[in-house]
């Protein structure tokens, strides 16, 4: 599952029919009602504020199968972390190079720890 990279100019109006909900990054997603939601928009007020990574992870762990979209200060150098934490799409800040972002997503062959995409860590996969 590869992250869908969205640029600002194609972000608007594309999926108006979708039942989406935008959350601030201090919302407790453990108790959030997910019923009927097709997309959850999580926010990075600054790219260095990493709360939404944990929100995305917990939403996936709860079994949320819809789209989790990153908004805000979204830079290409954090896309891989977003994908691994459970995001399925990300709207880039408008100065970002989407093509380069695509390349960065495949830079590493594998990782040590499990994540939202591959739950088992490397040691469990090898053994």
């Amino acid at each position: 599952m590869s992250l869908q990279i969205i640029t600002q100019h194609n972000a608007d109006g594309a999926d108006k029919e979708i039942s989406a909900r935008a959350l601030a990054n201090d919302v407790d997603v453990q108790t959030l009602d997910l019923e009927g939601l097709e997309r959850i928009d999580l926010n990075f007020p600054k790219f260095t504020d990493g709360r939404a990574f944990s929100q995305a992870f917990v939403l996936r762990r709860r079994g949320f199968g819809g789209d989790i979209r990153a908004h805000g200060d979204v830079l290409i150098d954090q896309l891989l972390q977003m994908q691994r934490s459970g995001f399925s799409s990300a709207v880039l800040r408008d100065d970002q190079d989407a093509a380069h972002g695509e390349k960065l997503l495949t830079h590493y062959k594998a990782f040590y720890q499990g994540d939202a995409v591959t739950a088992d860590p490397k040691f469990a996969r090898v053994a």
């Binding site: 990493g50 992870f57 590493y108 720890q113 739950a119």
Partner: protein, 594 residues
């Protein structure tokens, strides 16, 4: 020591390549400085007072000689400012005045309290080259800075200590792997430091860490962790609180995932001085603990994916290859011991070195030897390119090619044969590493301070130099006994002043350097007692007064001690006020201000 797998090596190389791409974009103007900063920090690259600083990760302090030689090469070939830069830096430093200061130095490495190695003059445009060079020997700067899980530290004698219950290194390595490029925990509220020990004596200051781990056996012989959380220095020194008395060893990752996830959500992000987990633990207390336990339960219910299988622990443990040290036969051991005794009788300095810089080992035919990097003329923990290369040679010749960087900013040789101690002593002496002052007053901890660091309020190194100079007499140092003297150039506390028996903190008032003195701090070792922050001795002192303050305090100790009582015990028994009065009596220039 740990033998890197092909996966580990490839991973480090991929990281170096990723960094080169980021640097290239930054230098081409495609990645703004503000956006690049956290990326370079998580590779160990700061930009300091005059030049970038690189912090190389040394996982739990272990280095092999090939790695040490690459560090020497970096010191020699890259740690070189332009003539113009060094001239400008020196002239700026010269204007500070107040106290005689050593000149700025270049082409050297610096050992830190967190067992890492720093360089101070590498130009940023060479940084990707340096990362590739480091990767060639499996070294890197991953997560040595930034608001992420930092390089994990441990006991300098891990795996060899006579008081060790469980070897902490396999667990440290498993945790290193887990925390490396963790996608969810790269942008925490603040830095997150983990220390782990498996010994009775705490040589890793675990209570002073965001998470402190003690791996031990319970009464049933099962291995588990005592988990401390919420320790840290800085502006608000707090020691860690036990959150779990005994966590089964195979649950440590699952549990820490809960600890860090709750911190990521709850930790403060509005104030950098209140963002460490210690503030959260202090503010929320039981509520934080309850949430960690609840999150841990959810992790278990959702599959407990990071439960460590026995085969994985065995695999990692097997990576810590015991060096092929020839076993010294019992009779040879005895002979060697007698020879040492005879030699020691004739050579007082050698006796002192054996007493202070050499300690016992799990293998009775071996000894653990500390090479002292605390001596006149060089800053604490500094090693020139040549000295790094010489240390590598000593490691090859006497310690199966391994050294450890320790918390006190020295190097430890972990595998020295008892019958080679005399030869090692001669070689270490020739290299200038045999000063018999380990754990004594001049074996002080000091941060780089205002000579190099952009954060510092005052210089640490001239103070360290002045104290070192005054206390050169080994008779006197031995008479004073084991004392922790710690110096930080600012409240970030990289020089661990809070935990020093005598702590010195640089402060800035009206653009001038001043020094606050604390007494009675502890890192949590047997010598020092339960971890605690020292108490402040009144208003800060002028730079020129600091050595006199130290002397006054030590004079009180000599006057008040009973028998062989240590400084820390005497201070505890006699009380802070007597020592405080002595310190204040050394005021000269600050008398009016106080």
């Amino acid at each position: 020591m740990y033998q890197y797998t092909a996966f580990d090596s490839e991973f480090v190389k991929a990281r170096a390549a990723q960094y080169r791409d980021q640097l290239t974009r930054n230098l081409a103007g495609k990645l703004a400085d503000d956006d690049f900063r956290p990326l370079r920090l998580q590779n160990g690259w700061y930009v300091q007072r005059y030049a970038p600083m690189l912090r190389v990760a040394v996982p739990y302090g272990e280095l092999n000689s090939a790695q040490l030689r690459v560090l020497a090469q970096i010191a020699r070939d890259y740690d070189t400012p332009s003539a113009e830069l060094i001239a400008r830096a020196q002239s700026t430093q010269d204007k500070i005045g107040g106290i005689d200061a050593p000149k700025l130095t270049t082409n050297y490495g610096h050992f830190t309290t967190r067992q890492n190695v720093q360089f101070n003059w590498i130009p940023l445009d060479k940084s990707a080259d340096v990362m590739e060079l480091l990767a060639s020997v499996n070294l890197h700067g991953i997560q040595t800075s930034g608001n992420c899980i930092r390089n994990i530290t441990s006991d300098e004698r891990a795996g060899i200590a006579v008081d060790e219950d469980v070897d902490p290194r396999p667990y440290a390595e498993v945790l290193r792997q887990w925390s490396t490029l963790h996608p969810e925990f790269a942008y925490l509220p603040r830095k997150f430091k983990i220390a782990i020990t498996g010994a009775t004596e705490d040589r890793a200051a675990i209570a002073w860490h965001d998470v402190g781990l003690r791996v031990l056996r319970n009464d049933e012989g099962e291995v588990g962790f005592q988990v401390l959380v919420g320790g840290g220095m800085g502006r608000t020194p707090i020691t860690g609180t036990v959150i779990r008395e005994f966590l089964p060893w195979n649950q440590i990752i699952n549990y820490l995932e809960a600890v860090v996830r709750v911190y990521n959500g709850w930790g403060r992000r509005d104030n950098i001085y209140k963002a460490r987990i210690k503030i959260l633990v202090k503010a929320e207390g039981q509520r934080y603990f309850d949430e960690v336990e609840a999150e841990y339960e959810r992790i278990l219910e959702s599959g407990a994916h990071h439960t460590i299988p026995q085969v994985e622990l065995d695999r990692v443990s097997a990576c810590f290859v015991m060096p092929p040290v020839d076993v010294v036969p019992d009779d040879a051991q005895e002979k060697a011991e007698q020879a040492l005794l005879a030699q020691a009788k004739a050579d007082k300095e050698f006796t002192r070195w054996l007493q202070q810089n050499v300690t016992s080992h799990q293998n009775p035919g071996l000894r653990v030897v500390t090479l002292s990097f605390k001596r006149l003329g060089q800053a604490p923990g500094d090693a020139t390119a040549d000295q790094l290369a010489t240390a590598a040679d000593l490691a090859d010749k006497f310690s199966s090619g391994e050294v450890r960087v320790n918390h006190d900013q020295n190097l430890v040789l972990p595998w020295v044969r008892i019958d080679q101690l005399a030869d090692l002593y001669q070689a270490a002496r020739a290299a200038g590493f045999a000063r018999a002052n380990v754990h004594l007053l001049t074996d002080m901890i000091a941060c780089p301070g205002g000579d190099y660091c952009a954060l510092a309020n005052a210089r640490s190194l001239p103070i360290a130099a002045a104290i070192t100079e005054r206390y050169q007499d080994l008779d006197e140092l031995f008479d004073l006994g084991e004392i922790d003297l710690h110096i930080s150039g600012c409240i970030n506390s990289c020089g661990h002043h809070h935990s020093g028996h005598i702590g010195i903190l640089g402060v800035d008032k009206d653009g001038q350097e001043w020094y606050q003195v604390t007494l009675g701090g502890s890192d949590g070792s047997f010598l020092s007692g339960p971890a605690k922050a020292g108490k402040v001795v009144g208003p800060s002192f002028a730079a020129a007064e600091v050595v006199d303050v130290v002397e006054a305090v030590l004079d009180v100790y000599r006057d008040k001690r009973e028998g062989h009582e240590t400084f820390a015990r005497t201070l505890n028994r006699v009380g802070f006020d007597v020592f405080k009065a002595a310190a204040n009596s050394a005021r000269n220039t600050t008398a009016r201000a106080a």
